[in-house]
Amino acid sequence: MTLQEQIRANRRRTAVVFLGFAVLILAFVAIIGGAYSPGLAGVLGIFMIGYGLISYYASGRIIAAVSHAKPVTKQDQPRVYRLLENVAIAAGLPQTPDLYLIDDSSPNAFAAGRDPKHAYVAVTSGLLALMDDRELEGVLAHEVGHIRNRDVKLMSIAAVLVGAIALAADMLMRITIFGGSDSREGGLGALGVAAGLIAAVLAPIGASLLQMSLSRRREYLADAAAVEFTGDAEGLALALATLRDDHQPLKHVTRATAHLYIESPLRDHKGLRSSLGGMFDTHPPLEDRIATLEKIGGFTLPAAAPAAQG
C-alpha cells in the first residue's frame, strides 16, 4: 500500500465512522423517542448532531482537555521541541506541529488534530525523563508519522465519538433503569426497557470494535514512517522497549482516547485482555512491533528482562 492509497483509505474510513455514528444516534434517538418521550428524543438528537460537528472541528482540543495536555513553547522545552522540529522537517510537514505536555510520570505520547496544519504531539513528562534523545526522536517520529499518514483526523474523531457513545449508553442505561419510576407518564413498557438495555450494552462494544479496527494496523504503519524519517529503526525499537519495561499507569486516560497513544495506556487491565485473547486491544503487542523493527533495521535488541514480562 502506498502512502497515497493509505491517505485515501483514511478519508474513506472517516466517512464510514461518521456514518456509523449517525446510525447509532438514530437508533438511540428512536429508542428514547419510542419508549420514553419524543420531546426528549428531539433535544438529544439536536445535541448529538451538534456534538458530531464539534468533534469534527474541535476533537484535538477536546482530547487535550480530557488528557490534561497543555501547550508548551520552544522556550519551555527546547530539547523535545527541537527534536520535533527535526522530525517534522524529515517528514516534509508544512510546519512543526504544536507540542503539548502531560504532567504524568508514566511515559507515553499521542498525536491529535484535524490535518497537518492543525495537529499537535503530546508527550508526558515521564517520557522526557526516561528517554534519551535517540529514543525520544523515535517516539516523536512515530507520532509525526500518524500526522503525515493523515491518521490523526480519523483517530481524533473516533476518540471523541466513542466517548459520546459511551456517554449516551450510560444515559440510556440510567433512563431505562430509573426513568419513569416516579414520572407522570407512568414508566416504560417492558419492551422499551429491554430495547434500552440491549442498546446500552451493544453500543459501547460496537464502538470499541470500530476503534480497534482503526488503530492496530496504523501503529505498524506509523512505526514504518518513523523509520523513514529518522533512518534509525533501532532508536524506535529501544524506545518501545523502554515503554514495555515501564508499568506506571497513566492518570487521565479513558477507553475512548486509548487508541491514540503510542503504546496502549490500558495495558495493565489484564482481565479483559486475557479473557478475550487481545481481541479488544487497541494496539498490537509491543514485542511484535519491536520484532518488525528488528527486521527492517537488521539488528537484535537484547531480550526483555524477566521482570518486564507483563
Binding site: 527541537r82 522537517i89 524529515a90 516534509g92 523509520v227 523513514e228 524519517f229 533512518g231 534509525d232
Partner: protein, 187 residues
C-alpha cells in the same frame, strides 16, 4: 463496429493512465523541489550564523587565520551554489572547515567558557541536525521520483514529457544514515 469500440476503449484507458502517471510525476517533482528548498533554508540559516561565530572565535584565537579563511571560503561557495551537486560539495567543505575551527577552539579554555560561544555552538549543532533531516526528506522524495520515472510503463513517457531524474544530496564522507526502504504493505 466492434473494432472501433475496442480502439476507443484502449484510447480512453491510455489517456486516463497518462493523466494519472503525469500528475503523479508532477506531484513528486514538486515535493522534491520543496524538499530542496527546505535544505536551502537550513543552509542559509547556518551561513547566517557563521560570521558571528568567526568573530567570536577571532576575539580569543587571533593567530588562526588559515581556519577563518577556510570557513569564509566554504560559506561563499555555499551561498553561490547553483546545483544540488555544488551545494553538497560546499556542504562537505563547510563540515571540514567547521571541524577544524572547533578543533582550534578546543585550545582556548576562555573561548570554550564564553556564554556566546556556547550558544552559537548549540545553535549550529541544531542547524546541522535540521540540515540532516531536510536531506533525508529530500533524498527519500528523490528516490521515489526517480524510481517512478524509471519503472515501466511510466518510463515510456517520463522523458518525452520533460521529467529528468534528480540528483541526490549526498555527503559521501560520513557514515550516514541512508534512506531505509520501508515497505508499507507488510504489517
Amino acid at each position: 463496429m466492434i473494432v472501433l469500440w475496442i480502439v476507443l476503449a484502449v484510447v480512453v484507458i491510455l489517456v486516463v493512465w497518462l493523466v494519472f502517471a503525469y500528475n503523479k510525476l508532477v506531484r513528486l517533482r514538486n515535493e522534491a523541489e520543496q524538499g530542496y528548498s527546505s535544505i536551502d533554508i537550513q543552509l542559509k540559516r547556518r551561513a547566517d550564523l557563521i560570521p558571528n561565530l568567526v568573530e567570536t572565535v577571532k576575539a580569543y584565537a587571533t593567530h588562526e587565520r588559515g581556519v577563518f579563511e577556510d570557513v569564509a571560503a566554504a560559506r561563499t561557495k555555499m551561498l553561490s551554489a547553483g546545483s544540488v551537486g555544488e551545494a553538497a560539495g560546499a556542504e562537505r567543505q563547510m563540515r571540514g572547515a567547521l571541524g577544524r575551527l572547533f578543533a582550534v577552539a578546543e585550545a582556548y579554555p576562555e573561548l570554550r567558557a564564553s556564554e556566546n560561544f556556547r550558544a552559537l555552538q548549540e545553535e549550529l549543532s541544531d542547524t546541522e541536525d535540521k540540515i540532516a533531516a531536510a536531506r533525508r526528506y529530500y533524498n527519500n522524495v528523490v528516490q521515489r521520483y526517480n524510481t517512478s520515472q524509471q519503472t515501466f510503463p511510466t518510463n515510456l513517457m517520463a522523458g518525452a514529457l520533460g521529467f529528468r531524474p534528480r540528483e541526490f544530496f549526498e555527503l559521501d564522507d560520513e557514515g550516514d544514515r541512508a534512506p531505509v526502504a520501508v515497505d508499507l504493505s507488510k504489517p
